[in-house]
Symmetry: D2
Subunit: 359 residues, 4 copies
């Protein structure tokens, strides 16, 4: 079950960074949805390394192929298997990793768990695993948009100490996609680019914060108790490589307010219940309240750095390891479509669950 996400709209990803490829099986997709590879490729291209001088130079087209589940351009209601071949396999770049564990990567923990590991490029722990999520998420976003009127987007809000002011109610995809770092504030975006270039030159890396937004979610999605909407979003986000934190609505900053200030007063506007503020982030008691859902995800600085570091090898000897090969000094711009995908996967699953029990 470790590789499956969702209850009714359920995805199972598979594949390692080196081997036959990576992919996903999407089970539970509603039938008769128009779907071709052209619906999936744009998000895969946004996720892909080598899009810009800023990001990983791995050169792969990441062309997705639909192996099952559609017929004459529509979903059948049967499992949709999506596959992206691995093309840029360069095992020789990883020779040193065969015996040494890269610090703050999953090399050691996979070895501790399984007693062996695919040491070529991270294996299952590689960011390539997220290809399946992005492809499945593109389907989820399409369903949310076409059948429920829900819009999903995400953007880079912070890189290291550079923070952009972003309004979840108003931020537009166009502004986000207007620059290489996917930050809708062009001035901060420029500074972020400069910082990332400096990190590349230094062989070092930076992290930051992505803002995720869902607009148009009706009141009533989400479940009480364990499968609260924010709980499933938190799990979805913390399941992403390099994610270290999640906060919804007021989040950690909300702990500084008092209850009287933090509570969101209900008001009636145009015959609809709204809240005058939105510290709740669009969710109360685990269930959407009709306001905009927004949350933030912290990503640590990329573990791969082009410098010598202390580590150990499989024979339990102290040694050093110097990063070489691809260098992606900041993964956040590429993580934006992944955050969107996971958001969409959580929401579409809850949309179907709500329909089943309360529809």
């Amino acid at each position: 079950m470790a590789n499956t996400f969702g209850h009714l709209f359920r995805i199972t990803t598979w594949g390692e960074s080196h081997g036959g490829g990576v992919g996903v099986v999407v089970d539970g997709c509603p039938p008769r949805l128009k779907l071709t590879a052209a619906d999936l490729q744009p998000d895969l291209d946004r996720r892909r390394p080598g899009q810009s001088p800023l990001v990983s130079p791995r050169k792969e087209a990441d062309t997705v192929r639909i192996l099952s589940g559609t017929f004459e351009g529509r979903t059948l209601g049967t499992p949709i298997c999506l596959w992206v071949k691995n093309e840029d396999a360069r095992p020789e770049a990883y020779a040193e990793m065969k015996t040494k564990f890269r610090p703050s990567h999953a090399d050691f923990t996979y070895f501790a768990k399984y007693g062996l590991r695919n040491w070529q490029g991270g294996g299952r722990a590689s960011a390539r695993e997220t290809i399946g999520r992005v492809a499945a998420g593109a389907i989820a976003k399409k369903i949310l948009r076409e059948r429920f009127g829900v819009e999903i987007l995400a953007c880079v809000q912070q890189i290291q100490r550079l923070v952009a002011g972003v309004d979840p109610e108003r931020v537009q995809m166009r502004a986000i996609e207007a620059n290489l770092v996917r930050c809708p504030d062009p001035v901060i975006a420029g500074k972020m680019i400069t910082l990332i270039e400096r990190m590349r030159a230094a062989g070092d890396s930076v992290g930051g914060v992505i803002l995720g937004v869902a607009r148009g979610v009706p009141a009533g999605w989400g479940e009480p108790v364990f499968d609260k909407l924010e709980a499933d979003l938190a799990k979805a986000m913390l399941s992403l490589p390099a994610a270290k934190g999640f906060e919804i609505g007021s989040g950690f900053a909300g702990t500084l307010m008092t209850g009287l200030r933090h509570n969101d007063p209900f008001r009636v506007r145009k015959g609809k219940v709204v809240t005058a503020s939105n510290h709740s982030g669009g969710i109360q008691g685990g269930i959407s309240n009709g306001q905009t859902i927004y949350f933030r995800v912290a990503f640590k600085p990329t573990a791969t750095v082009m410098r010598e570091q202390l580590t150990v090898d499989e024979s339990l000897r102290n040694t050093t390891l110097t990063g070489r090969g691809r260098h992606d000094p900041c993964v956040l711009p590429r993580a934006v479509p992944i955050v969107e995908a996971m958001t969409a996967l959580v929401l579409v699953d809850h949309a179907l669950r709500h329909k089943a029990q309360c529809g």
Copy 2:
């Protein structure tokens, strides 16, 4: 499935704040574990309102009864049903809530979802639901302690702007339980108590941050991809009432470092792989690395305040609502055993999953 948590050590909670009681069914517990109600009651007492002048004056013994799953003081391997009666039902205290939605509570969203709600004291969204979690968590903690040598604890690290320095490696249960706010720093604890009393006087409330710690977890627990240990912890924590944020290891602060500084160098000590720093929080690639696991959970200020607030009623009219009855100006001290319980539930589930696949 909304009310079930875990895969192999699986709990299902049930019950509303008013009605026949609250409880939990624990499925998958290993057989032959010594278990009586005396193993569960202490944590329920720590969670219980009315323990101190600081916390909710609801007067209930919260005495747990084991309805099934044990025989002659040992677990049978069959489902353990635990039940705590509701005793302090005072529906009259909630009369106004029958038609009005309390701001930032789940009243409105439950109504939006289900078309009806138990308006007496929060119903299913009441904090009483966590009784089942705490009781089940006490079993999980016992298994972790006795069969795996794992120690779980949590403490209040921050209330509003008052922050205690706590070392996850060294903090002791004794120091935590030494004061009313469960903060191991006695000086800060004193200030926290003063703050909470001021809030009570003002009819207002405060939130803060709980630190959760697991020591002695062996390397190898957790799953790659979706069921990463930190992902399951994040879900567990965000499923708690009033939780708004989660961070593991360096968390949001880690975004300010560079990769070179953030990476945890591996070293060999006494024939065992350790890390020289622990920004990872004991988990890498979703799998425990043998170091101490620690994380922080943000709780918003309690939504129940004893003041007049703007809201709407079921007929969609603007109105006001004044809190009355019980007032719990800070839930964090009582949330400490709940955080411990959820941590234990996540870990014991992964312990069994690890045994199944890799044992």
Copy 3:
């Protein structure tokens, strides 16, 4: 998960024959369904031992209590916990079973699996576990009847060599409930009663076959591949104590026909697709086709007999055991409401699943 059944309408049973009682948690029930204990008690009474001179003389009222999930006579959408106390505990009747394994009971296998067992009356393997199923099934039947127009019934079709001709299209609950053995053919029913009385006198027991029927299921319920409707029915039925076989539609007898004869020709009647015969039993490719669903379940003769039998004890010594105490020479009449319950649980789950994906 062993004690949970269903995906969207999900039940978890708990309890042993001796101890605090038996019960069930029903999760995923649609909200706003009228529900009180009076909706559940009739089926529990039909299942109850001691209804007639034919069945087990265990004297228990089996009064069900709703502990959670309803409010003012309607379901809340939250988990419904149902509880029936154990009253007729007579551990002394089981003293010999403390060390000896009853042949063809679960005593030995529970001991082999768990290393201990509740030897009083079968523990978790007791037929009392089915109380939770019947109570939950009564809710499922109510939903199917009121919201989907589906009628569920079951009857005894065969006891040992006595076989009644029953037409699944026409059999009525009234005829079934008209006699003690729940066989709609009064002549055969009379012979069955005579046989059972003879078995009681001989201290022996008999088994037979129950026919299950669901009428009014629309075309389209069920899932391809693993969760075929007949697969879930088969699992449901084989999960019943003493069940040894399941067949849908033509079943084992269908193997004697050729394909040309066995195929059900489609015809259009009143603008609706029907089949001219119904060897398929109302399901094709795992999905209902709109025709009556019918199936048969084989139950072995009750393992409890009032005679001396060869067996072994916990110390692995050969010995003998003589049954004493309650004697239920034929469980089939009491199993009828259990078969109905399981049928309803499977169908309501698939009704909700169908709504989620295709609704």
Copy 4:
């Protein structure tokens, strides 16, 4: 979830008979198991059409490719994706099926459920879906054999009225594979072949019964209540195309005995508990008792016949349809490895579940 089977050893199949191929993702496989395509191909070859003049002349190599989850010939513990391309696509053979529903196939029910269908060769309901099961089952059989000493086999016991006497304790794979119909009794096998050839000449078809056997299963596998070993086997078998019945141990015939005769006396032999008879079929109370597990599965005569039949079309008009193209007058010989695969999948899942809770 419809396309996923198992809890800890979990398979998800995907693919239609026409399209990019069929496959399976196996999640939860223990790491470090030696595994190459050569371990999977033999069972796929046994399942493959065109093996003999008796079976479907579809000409496909069904060569399996491992896309993920292994490294240097060993399993990684990560998901194993297996893929078999479709090669023999002849959509023109299915032109008439574009608008007409084949009797007793899934054409109509898929259309009723999803509102569209892949009419080329059965789509998802095609027997090609079982390729994924057989490939995954080959892994499960290998684990059972190498790590638990369990042997799985199946054979054709009956075709129409031709019944072979087979002893579950003694039947050998060699005898089963010695003839085209996989019936270990050579005399009956010869008659079966004659019968099938006559059916082919007549454009008609026959069904029958497959016996499944698992030897060497230790006492203690299986779960009480819903996930009884026989319940999971029943579901597994009824999920197979054309399966109409399942019986374990004495099955339907057991209803003719009395309890005294049917009960299996326990005896101690060589310090081990055994049973003097095995009417239970190796399972008591849902848990294996250490004796040989055996069961029987009824398969209806193949629905595809080469004759004109009454049916309806998508416009709800009565019409006729004449089968053409491939004709497989008896699928049972090819179903043998599928029954083995499903048996192995059930058992390995329960082996891991047992280890998790009781190991």
